[in-house]
Amino acid sequence: MRRPAAALLALLLAGAGLLTPLAAAAAEAERATIVHVLQRLTYGPRPGDVERVEAMGLEAWLERQLDPARVDDTATERALAALPTLTMSIADLHAQYPRPGDQNFAAGEGASKRPIRIAGELQAGRMLRAVRSERQLQEVMVDFWANHFNVFVGKGELRWYATAWEREVIRPHALGRFPELLRATARHPAMLFYLDNWLSTRGDFTRRFGPSAGRRAGLNENYARELMELHTLGVDGGYTQQDVTEVARAFTGWTIERPRGEARFVFRPAMHDHGDKVVLGQPLRRGGERDGDDVLDLLARHPATARFIATKLVRRFVADDPPPVLVERVAAVYRDTGGDVRAMLRAIVAAPEFRAPETLGAKIKKPSELVAGAARAAGAVIDARGALALARASAQIGEGFYEAQAPTGHPDRAEAWVSPGTLLARMNFALALVDGRLPGVRVDVGALVAGVDRRQPGAVLERLLATLLHERVSPATREVLKAQLATPVITRLTLDDRGPADTDVAKLAALVLGSPEFQRR
């Protein structure tokens, strides 16, 4: 039993005059802080993670996580090799996973080459990394930005584009600078397609080629509006309908070359509205492709953007209702550093609000956080198939990766995720996980309680509470679980009824994973 052993060690050290009781208490507090940080900055601690961070020191751990290139992740990369589409170009995906009805389709290799498989591998890749990657903060930020700049894999060409989107836009910039991330999103075919900008032209433009040849095209405001409302300024950022139209005009001609082939960004001057434009009171002077760049710069520098990004980060890492003082502080970091994500994250982790007692356990895990977190806590061994099963489990509880249809992405507040139906789905997931009913997901419940006498259900429970919940358990929950130990479901009696022979560790672990405490982070 890890914790009592640690306590005993502290006691011995204290007895030898090496560690005062005060220092032992400080060590306890430090452990609690580590658990909290791991709950917020990762998909939750695996067995042994807290000790590893303790040995390394929290500051050093955080700096390494902020610089993921320094973290070795070759084991994860090897496992990802089972998902070949993750590294393929859009052109190759189009060629090898043709759409039904396409001339190449019949030549394809049947079900294994259906385009839907691309989305499945993308989702499995996200879950595989969430569970296994050593670069946990990077994964958390990939999730954050994938929701902030949401794209929906079910819309048209997105099925072929979303893999490149994550690989080329979201992942490289997840811990970078917001203005660069914003610029990368604006030019990627995934966003150009999702919010229709690739079709937006000056009002009097007539297409000369393609299926719409000879038809008058025109302005499409979809991207312009969401760019300001959801990507930068926020809905109260002070823009008007007139600004939406002007921004849409600025982005005319930003389109996709060979959308069913390599799908590259291209600026087509003929589609561009070359007239004068004024956005948020600022005239755009350079014209052409630079109109769009100037809008992005204007928006990335805008104080409303700093506040909006800060609000969303604080909501993710601190509380559903972000403390305004902290938002202001993080927004100031954005302004001072030109939108440096690392600097903002450092400011959040260092903030007293982040470590305040009311912050601990205050966030409800989103379905993906619950699913990946439970797999990690239980020390599950997963392969690519298991990752897909877990991604599907998350979708069943309400959160499928790249499956939010609306540009707002998945919500980040408790009310959106807690309701009777979903709570039941969470419990059923916990059961399926420890019962071993998820293909490709192996949980060794024996290992969770290694060294504990399974004839002693109380000891088994204590070990599970330490391993899965890190002692973050209310007295009421502990009492309820203790009471469960007496039931024949948990404690299987021997044939002659002479005493408890074995504890159903799996069932007990499912109850812990389905408890109110495990739904929090």
């Binding site: 069943q396 807690v418 109110p516």
Partner: protein, 414 residues
């Protein structure tokens, strides 16, 4: 504060559920009068449906002027491929043909040029306002259907009185009345091969203690609902009267709403949503993207009415969407975010066969901000009238804070 009241309401519900658990035939016999309560089914078309295609105003010449490639052809009598004339001025999209019998029997009404007084063209904000019921005010914590659920007479409290089909509880049903969100009634139970009942009791006890937070409260409601659903046998009820629901989540949701209605578990307010209406590109006319979405909508609503049969006399179905779309088509044969749209009301007590609301006209000078169908019926007027009358809510019920019904009612319900 909110959770305290909510917890009180729920503890009352628990007591009621405990006594309301006799064998089903007894419950049927004893509770017949109470059981056949009124039900309001609400459907949110998320993404802003083009009301001008759903219920095209073929009598307004400006309709055709702004839409060279997506306007629906004028109704031709006997031709089901063209718009289906309703009253000589409006028509139904041909994909909604399954609803024409309801129009003819006077159980389907349309409210056109309906929408929000707020001018926002943000999906997110407009949906938020339509669900909170307070356009322009973002701080409202609960939703208007949630407030309606609170206002229901107390003896009707059941864990199923307000249900949303879907994985998450929508904004519209949030509030003190503890509405239920459920994706699949068939899987609404603890599922494990060994000792499921005892395992369920284990989970239930984890959420049973006195802590009044979101998780514990929700946990208690969950198991109360599981028990009730099981005893009512709702999931064994197949579609009646040959009703044929469209495949997909929307049809499934309606089928399960019908199961809850027919199982008499105390359902009073149901909600589901259906997406895909944000037709910026390639909207289509009679056929195409929008037509496909409308086909699913029409087939679903018709199947629901068919399935419920006589019970439909106690049911009103109300559709809504956050705003309409531009009068003129855009450069991609689609439409951008607009203002007013059309909403459908159908059911037993509806004075149907009529299009309600003043028509503002589509000529450029008649449009809202020069581009969109103007709002002549505030959505709150429609929702208030349908909800309070159909569910017989007390006159004091305030579904829409800061707003009072003004002028004469639409007169939708007899």
């Amino acid at each position: 504060m909110m959770l305290t009241r909510r917890a009180l309401l729920r503890s009352g519900a628990c007591a009621l559920a405990a006594v309301a658990m006799p064998p089903r035939f007894l419950a049927r016999a004893a509770g017949a009068a109470e059981a056949r309560g009124k039900v309001l089914v609400t459907i949110f078309q998320r993404g802003a449906v083009d009301g001008l295609s759903m219920v095209p105003p073929h009598g307004d010449p400006a309709y055709y002027a702004g839409r060279p490639s997506i306007a629906l052809a004028r109704p031709q009598r006997g031709d089901e491929a063209t718009a289906l004339d309703l009253d000589g001025f409006f028509a139904l999209h041909p994909a909604l043909a399954p609803l024409t019998p309801l129009w003819k029997t006077g159980t389907l009404a349309v409210v056109h040029a309906c929408g929000s007084p707020e001018a926002t063209r943000s999906h997110f904000d407009a949906q938020d306002y339509m669900e909170s019921g307070t356009p322009g005010v973002k701080s409202t914590a609960d939703g208007w259907l949630g407030r309606a659920a609170v206002a229901l007479p107390a003896e009707r409290v059941s864990p199923f009185r307000a249900v949303a089909l879907g994985p998450r509880l929508p904004r519209i049903l949030r509030g003190e009345a503890a509405a239920l969100a459920v994706t699949s009634l068939d899987r609404f139970d603890v599922q494990t091969p060994s000792a499921p009942a005892a395992t369920a009791r284990g989970f239930e006890s984890l959420y049973a203690d006195g802590i009044r937070d979101l998780l514990h409260g929700t946990g208690r409601e969950t198991f109360e609902a599981v028990r009730m659903l099981k005893s009512a046998g709702a999931t064994s009820l197949g579609p009646a009267n040959g009703a044929d629901y469209p495949r997909g989540r929307f049809g499934e949701s309606l089928r399960q709403i019908a199961q809850l209605v027919r199982a008499e578990v105390g359902l009073r307010i149901a909600f589901t949503d259906v997406g895909g209406w944000d037709t910026h590109v390639g909207q289509g006319a009679e056929q195409g993207q929008l037509g496909n979405r409308l086909r699913e909508l029409g087939a679903g609503l018709a199947a629901l009415a068919q399935d419920l049969g006589d019970r439909m006399s106690d049911v009103v179905v109300l559709t809504m969407s956050e705003f309409g779309r531009t009068v003129a088509e855009n450069g991609n044969r689609g439409t951008d975010h607009g203002h007013a749209t059309a909403m459908l009301v159908l059911g037993g007590g509806v004075r149907g066969g009529r299009v309600y609301g003043r028509w503002p006209g589509l000529a450029p000078e008649q449009r809202f901000e020069g581009r969109d169908l103007a709002v002549t019926t505030d959505f709150r007027a429609l929702f208030h009238e349908v909800t309070t009358r159909h569910l017989a809510l007390p006159a004091t019920a305030s579904l829409f804070p800061g707003w009072r019904p003004g002028g004469s009612p639409l007169g939708l319900l007899g």
